[in-house]
Structure formats: structure tokens, C-alpha cells
Symmetry: C2
Subunit: 271 residues, 2 copies
């Protein structure tokens, strides 16, 4: 089964478009959880157990684990193994190099760590991403219009015909989707841009960060993304750190339930 | 001392613009070197000992180590520790995420692994790269015009005024260089584009892959890069795998000496 088919099936079966970002920040672990491999694995296990019934996907942010040192990467491997098989796993690693190097990033993310999908940079072009794109059962979410202020610097540049770079990227990725395994990363902080992306890439799954701590507008985002292809609305900090005390897992469950409900309500009225 | 000042000093002291890329491919280790942590560390130690007198920098390619699994990253840490203090170390990791995530990538690369510099993607803009840019003693080589065929897809797009994206990126990075710690990655496979980049970013160090296995033209490349700011000419496979037998270290030394000489001859006649 192609990655996108599996994603569509997962979102339908679980009646969910919620992606939970595992941005595990040692400085924000709840009281009593030690900043060790065991602490991080325990924290993630509790979060996953408390939230997985509402989630379609988990998206560990690889940077946070790398910054812990070697034991952080061991923790990431262990956390990956804790995620139930009925959700999709995305390594938020923002990789991107030349073809012969991406062969190794693909092995690292898909085979060593066992993730179903990865986030990737478009800057080196289609040919560079072949080692990811040629794996039909693995997904590649290509950065299109990101959720940060600096996104404007290059992504919003207009070409000779007036088309912005992120639209050119969206169209290109649509054309790369021959194996039904491509998606786009489009930030919730810019719903108008998201709607434009959806117009030129109607069939690609969208991975949408920026709801929650970054302040994106959920109903506007869901309306802009539409219902023709799956979207994953990602929240990280607003769920992981919903409480700083030993009720963190219940608080995460409450935050996840509420967001899951809010997304589904927004989807029900979206066209 | 700023990173770029240190790089200028290193290139001058060592009379070298040679960067040796440590793209350690388990499938290409010389006969008798096992595909284990000890094997990889031993291979790199021999390569470094045989070549460091000719090198201004070493650039481990992080993807190759990540694809080995956890022990590969432990090997990378050990290899980093073997590189003498009189050369510059660059983690070729092609990182790039939003600001609050790049904080963690910067810690991982500069503090956990202890590298002097990193390669990074421009796609998320200046604001996103602040966690790297704000460290004057650490360098950031931003991808500008890469050495692969797919580079054309987006990097060559012209904006409304006819300027290509990689030129816009080069100008932007020149403006980000307030801490004297920015450089550009510009492939040797396109000397004409490299010359254009040098025109708009006359003071930035250039990290130039594509000589050797990728077939770039050395004299044309050096002439295009000019002598006003440091360049690092990177070679990986042509040095690491100069011999597949137990004379691999001598063969690497021979290849490194020859390239060092060729670069300096090209520099002597460059204007």
C-alpha cells in the first residue's frame, strides 16, 4: 500500500486529522521526570498512551533528541518503538542533500529508525529526493510554505510570471507524486497561502504545523485545506506541556481530545 | 575570534584550501576494515593522519554516519575528536528548521558534537537561522548553488527582475554576515554560476563540493571563486577511496597531496 493510501485509511479509520509532535524539550519536562534517557522514554510513553486514541500520527522532532546527545537518539529509537501500529509515524528531520547522500538519510530515517515518513527540503530539486520518493510505502512531506516569519524571505519571492516560490514548489511536488507518497508542509499561520497551495496541489496530503503555541487559526486553516485530501494538523507544545505537574498525561489527553473535537467540528463545516 | 577570521588564518597558516569530506560508506571500506564502529574509527584515523598536513578542513557527512545506526553516531563523535585542532571542522548536516527547533540543531552540532561549522538550508529564511548565526565563533555555510543536476529546479528560477534564486540567496547571506561567520555552498560543477555568486558576495567564504567524483573543473572553479575571500575545495570519494587495499592511507595521502598542489597552482594564477 502506498504511504498516502495508508494515511487516508488511517485518518478515516481513526476519524482523526490530529498529529502530535513529540518536541521533547528537557527544560520543559514535568516536575519529577528526570532529564535522562529513561525520563524521556517514560514521558513519551505516558503522552502516547494518553493520546493515541485521538491521534492519526506522531511526529517526533529529531532536533530535540539530537541535542540531548547520544542517549537522546537511543531514546528516539525507543520512543519510535512505542508508537502503536495503527498510527502513522513521521520523522520531523527536515533532511535534504544530493542524491547519493540522501540514500543514506533515507536508510537512517526509514530503515534504521523505522519511520513511515520524513519531512524534507525542496532546495536541491526532484532528482536529489529520489532516494525518498522511490519508496512508495514511505512518505515525504516537502517543505512548501512554513509557519515562521522568515518564511517570507525566499518562499514568497515571485518568479517572472508572478508566481510565488512556494506555489512553484507545490506544483512540482504534485508532479513528483507518481508513487502516491508525497505531501506538503504548509503552516497554519498563513491560511490564505494554504488555500492557494491547495488549489495547485489538490491531491496532496498537507502536514500543517503552527496550531497551538504558534497561534494559527484552526477553523480558517481547516477551511483553507479543504476535505479532498488528508490533512494532518500538528500540535506539539500545547499537548506535551499542558501541565507541568504529575497530571501531565491527563492534561495532554484533555488537550488532545479538545483539539481532536475542534478539528472534526471544523472539518464538518468545511467545504 | 570569529569563525571566518579563524578560517582565513587556518587557510593562510596551512597554505591550503583543501577540505576533505569524510563520506564514510560502509560498502566502500578498504579490504580488511570491518563495517563496525571500531572499523570506521580506525579508517578515519588513518585517513586523517595521512592527510591532515595538506588539509585546511575536514567535513564529515553526517548522513553516512546516521545510516550506520546508533554506533555510527558514536563513531562520528569519536572521529570528530581525532581531528587536529589546527584545522576547521564542518558538520555537513544540511540542517534547517524554524528558529525554536534550530536552537536544538545548533546545540547538537556545535555543543554535543563540537563542530566548528555546519551546512544549512536557506528555505526558512534569516530569522530561522538565528540560533546558528548568533554564534560568532561557529560558521554557517548556507546552500546557495549546489553541485547536483536537480539544483536547476528551484535554485535557477528567476524572480520578477530576472535575478536567479541562488543569487538572491547569496546576497541575503552576505547581509546576514554581521558576525563574520557566514559562508556559501557553491558547487564546482557550475563555474559560471560560481563566478556570479562571487560578484554579489565578494567577502564570504565558499565551500565548494563537486571536484573529484562529481567531475568539476578545478582551474575554472578556482578562477571563478577568486582570491579575495577563502574558499574550501572539498574532495571526498577521490581521497577516501583512492585505494581499496591496505595501502589506502598512502593512496589517500598521495591523492590529497596532488589535489593540494593542484589547488595552490590554480590559486597562484587566479586573479
Amino acid at each position: 500500500m502506498s504511504f498516502n493510501a495508508r494515511l487516508r485509511q488511517t485518518c478515516a479509520k481513526k476519524n482523526s486529522a490530529l498529529c502530535i509532535g513529540l518536541d521533547v524539550d528537557l527544560a520543559r519536562l514535568p516536575t519529577g521526570i528526570p532529564a535522562t534517557r529513561e525520563g524521556v522514554v517514560h514521558f513519551c510513553r505516558e503522552i502516547i498512551e494518553a493520546t493515541h486514541q485521538f491521534a492519526a500520527a506522531y511526529k517526533p522532532n529529531v532536533a530535540f533528541f539530537e541535542s540531548m546527545g547520544m542517549w537522546g537518539l537511543e531514546a528516539l529509537e525507543e520512543v519510535r518503538g512505542q508508537i502503536p501500529a495503527d498510527v502513522v509515524t513521521i520523522a520531523d528531520a527536515k533532511r535534504g542533500d544530493i542524491d547519493s547522500t540522501n540514500v543514506h538519510y533515507a536508510v537512517a530515517v526509514f530503515d534504521v529508525l523505522g519511520f513511515d515518513a520524513v519531512t524534507a527540503h525542496p532546495y536541491l530539486g526532484a532528482e536529489s529526493l529520489e532516494p525518498f520518493l522511490s519508496r512508495p510505502d514511505r512518505g515525504v512531506f516537502v517543505l512548501c510554505r512554513t509557519s515562521n516569519p522568515g518564511a517570507r524571505d525566499f518562499q514568497d519571492l515571485r518568479n517572472e510570471t508572478g508566481e510565488r516560490l512556494y506555489i512553484t514548489v507545490a506544483k512540482a511536488v504534485q508532479s513528483w507524486n507518481v508513487n502516491d507518497n508525497c505531501g506538503l508542509v504548509t503552516g497554519a499561520t498563513y491560511p490564505e497561502e494554504l488555500a492557494e497551495v491547495r488549489q495547485v496541489a489538490p491531491y496532496l496530503p498537507l502536514l500543517i504545523p503552527g496550531i497551538g503555541a504558534q497561534g494559527g487559526d484552526l477553523p480558517a486553516t481547516v477551511q483553507a485545506a479543504g476535505t479532498a485530501a488528508p490533512m494532518l494538523i500538528n500540535a506539539s507544545r500545547s499537548i506535551l506541556y499542558a501541565s507541568n505537574e504529575n497530571d501531565f498525561a491527563e492534561a495532554a489527553a484533555t488537550a488532545a481530545t479538545k483539539l481532536h473535537t475542534d478539528i472534526n467540528q471544523a472539518l464538518a463545516i468545511a467545504t
